[in-house]
């Protein structure tokens, strides 16, 4: 007898699923006579995508830069803040509510302030991507820190481990699975953040493309740009998912 078979994902089924999804879109639109300004046929979007591919690529790179910078900043500051809140009780009753409030404010409401402080360039998009990505990382890292097995924490205390050692050698590795979950949530949010930043004021990036295409009712191009954003986000998500495979000690 071999090891009990764990049902494996079937790539053929997955492929069929996506083909079916695409077909449903393509023919559903035609069948129900959905107007192209609402939802163009997939093939039209494909054509628009292909025709605008060079332009979309250029703008993707702009957005990608904003996303990655904002995300990186969120990861670094998010972990730092979570550690601070976990360790210093007064931070939990002061900084923590500020972070939650920051998360709760409709960011578009802050747009005028953002633009006046940071201008229309890279800065305001970085900050937007950061603001969207920051919170899930803080919360999940805090959750991870609170889940450090108490017997291991006791062990480290018995060893007279310094706060830093405790943090670096025990809490960080123990919180890694939760942190990676936070990153999975944060990455698509960073993308949304950058796009929203571009909506607020920009002259390039995929968000700008969406605005321009919408403004001139080029719906196929709008959707091609939306699709590009989605694909960018998917790729970035799967990069995080791949990296999270290195944190294998989740359930052991």
């Amino acid at each position: 007898m071999a090891t009990p078979p764990r049902t494996q994902s079937n790539p053929v089924v997955a492929a069929l699923f996506f083909v079916a999804l695409a077909a449903a879109w393509e023919f559903g639109v035609r069948l129900f006579g959905v107007k192209s300004y609402l939802l163009p046929a997939l093939s039209d979007i494909g054509v628009a995508f292909w025709e605008a591919r060079a332009m979309l690529l250029d703008h993707s790179l702009v957005t990608l830069g904003e996303v990655l910078s904002g995300f990186a900043l969120a990861a670094v500051l998010g972990v730092a803040l979570a550690a601070l809140i976990h360790v210093v009780p007064v931070a939990r009753s002061t900084l923590y509510p500020v972070v939650i409030a920051l998360q709760s404010i409709p960011k578009v409401g802050l747009a005028p302030l953002m633009v006046v402080w940071l201008g229309y360039g890279f800065g305001s998009k970085l900050v937007m991507a950061f603001l969207f990505a920051f919170f899930p990382i803080v919360i999940s890292t805090l959750g991870g820190l609170a889940s450090v097995p108490s017997n291991l924490e006791e062990h480290f205390r018995a060893l007279g481990a310094s706060r830093w050692t405790m943090f670096a050698r025990l809490q960080v590795p123990a919180a890694m699975p939760n942190f990676m979950d936070g990153c999975k949530v944060a990455m698509p949010l960073a993308v949304i953040g950058a796009i929203v930043g571009e909506f607020v004021g920009s002259n390039n990036g995929l968000g700008n493309v969406i605005l321009l295409a919408t403004g001139s009712s080029q719906t196929a191009l709008t959707f091609a740009a939306l699709l590009t954003v989605t694909m960018l986000s998917l790729v970035l998500f799967y990069v995080v998912e791949l990296l999270s495979k290195f944190v294998w000690w989740r359930a052991v």
Partner: protein, 311 residues
């Protein structure tokens, strides 16, 4: 629209944006009972830009809307069947506003090298390059910024942009108010003053409405223009109606928008001038890479035939 309370036909009008002075005629027609006299029960709702108003109108989400030829043409390009049935802004009401203390902009060529900001749902991104080209200015010499609508005025006053798109009957009074607060003065260069003969916003409906309920359309238009006439004659009373209905409105700004709208209507609102219709379509073909031929009558109901009904 079904049948309303007092046996009246219920129709919905989409304002295409937030309530403001340019909508005074519609509000006046409601409050003065002009629609009721015509057997209509009119419900007004806010909108989210002219393009969405035209598309949602086409979807049958309401019977009438406020919108410009750009919205109609783009809706039709995408298979929609909307039409403008009554003009209000007889010329394109947009201009580029600037701070006089910083710039002097008297002709399109003065814009070269400047950064210009416009709201997201404005047609600036398509219109300005075409307009610059018409006026012999390199379209790439002006940098166009896409902004959150709420941001344009602030950005201009704060010096983040050199010029911002401003609209008579709409955002222009706001520019003056902000400028006053910041201790600067606003200058303005109108598109229509330099080779642009283009209709602005008017009343939109669908071909379906025109075919199935032509009387409703006629009655709606007649009552609406009656309302605008009343508003032009009694601005303070109608401002009162507006602020009562929409408590958040600023009375002074609303009144100024009404005055500007009345001014925009003076050049034959309610009728279609074939020359301006032709010039409008001509310009839109240039600004947008439009597919196929567009007949004036497809976009402007009655443009090639009889003028629309006036009281």
């Amino acid at each position: 629209g079904g049948t309303g309370d007092a046996g009246k036909e219920r129709v919905t009008f989409n304002m295409s944006w937030l309530p403001q002075g340019s909508m005074a005629g519609v509000i006046a027609a409601i409050d003065k009972g002009y629609y009721a006299e015509a057997g209509l029960d009119v419900n007004v709702v806010r909108g989210f830009g002219g393009i969405r108003t035209a598309n949602e109108l086409d979807q049958g989400m309401f019977e009438f809307g406020y919108g410009d030829p750009v919205s109609v043409v783009l809706n039709r390009q995408n298979g929609g069947k909307t039409r403008m049935v009554g003009t209000i802004n007889t010329r394109w009401p947009a201009a580029l506003c600037y701070v006089k203390e910083r710039h002097t902009i008297e002709k399109p060529a003065d814009l070269a090298g400047l950064t210009v900001g416009g709201g997201q749902s404005s047609a600036m991104q398509a219109l300005v390059p075409a307009w610059l080209t018409r006026n012999g200015v390199d379209k790439d010499s002006v940098k166009l910024l896409q902004l959150d609508p709420a941001l344009v005025v602030t950005s201009l006053v704060e010096g983040k942009i050199d010029a911002g798109e401003c609209w008579e009957g709409n955002s222009l009074p706001l520019y003056h108010k902000r400028a006053k607060e910041a201790g600067v003065t606003i200058g303005r260069i109108s598109y229509s003053a330099f080779n642009l003969d283009l209709y602005g916003s008017g009343i939109l409906t669908t071909e379906k409405m025109l075919a199935e309920k032509p009387e409703t359309v006629k009655k709606f238009l007649a009552a609406t223009y009656r309302g605008y006439e009343y508003a032009a004659a009694n601005p303070d009373e109608v401002v009162g109606m507006m602020t009562k209905r929409f408590p958040m409105l600023d009375a002074a700004i609303t009144k100024q928008q009404m005055v500007e709208t009345a001014e925009l209507m003076k050049d034959g609102a309610g009728t279609f001038k074939p020359a301006r219709v032709a010039s409008s379509l001509d310009f839109l073909k240039q600004a947008y890479a439009l597919k196929g031929d567009i007949a004036p009558g497809d976009v402007f109901e009655g443009a090639s035939a009889t003028p629309a009904a006036r009281p």
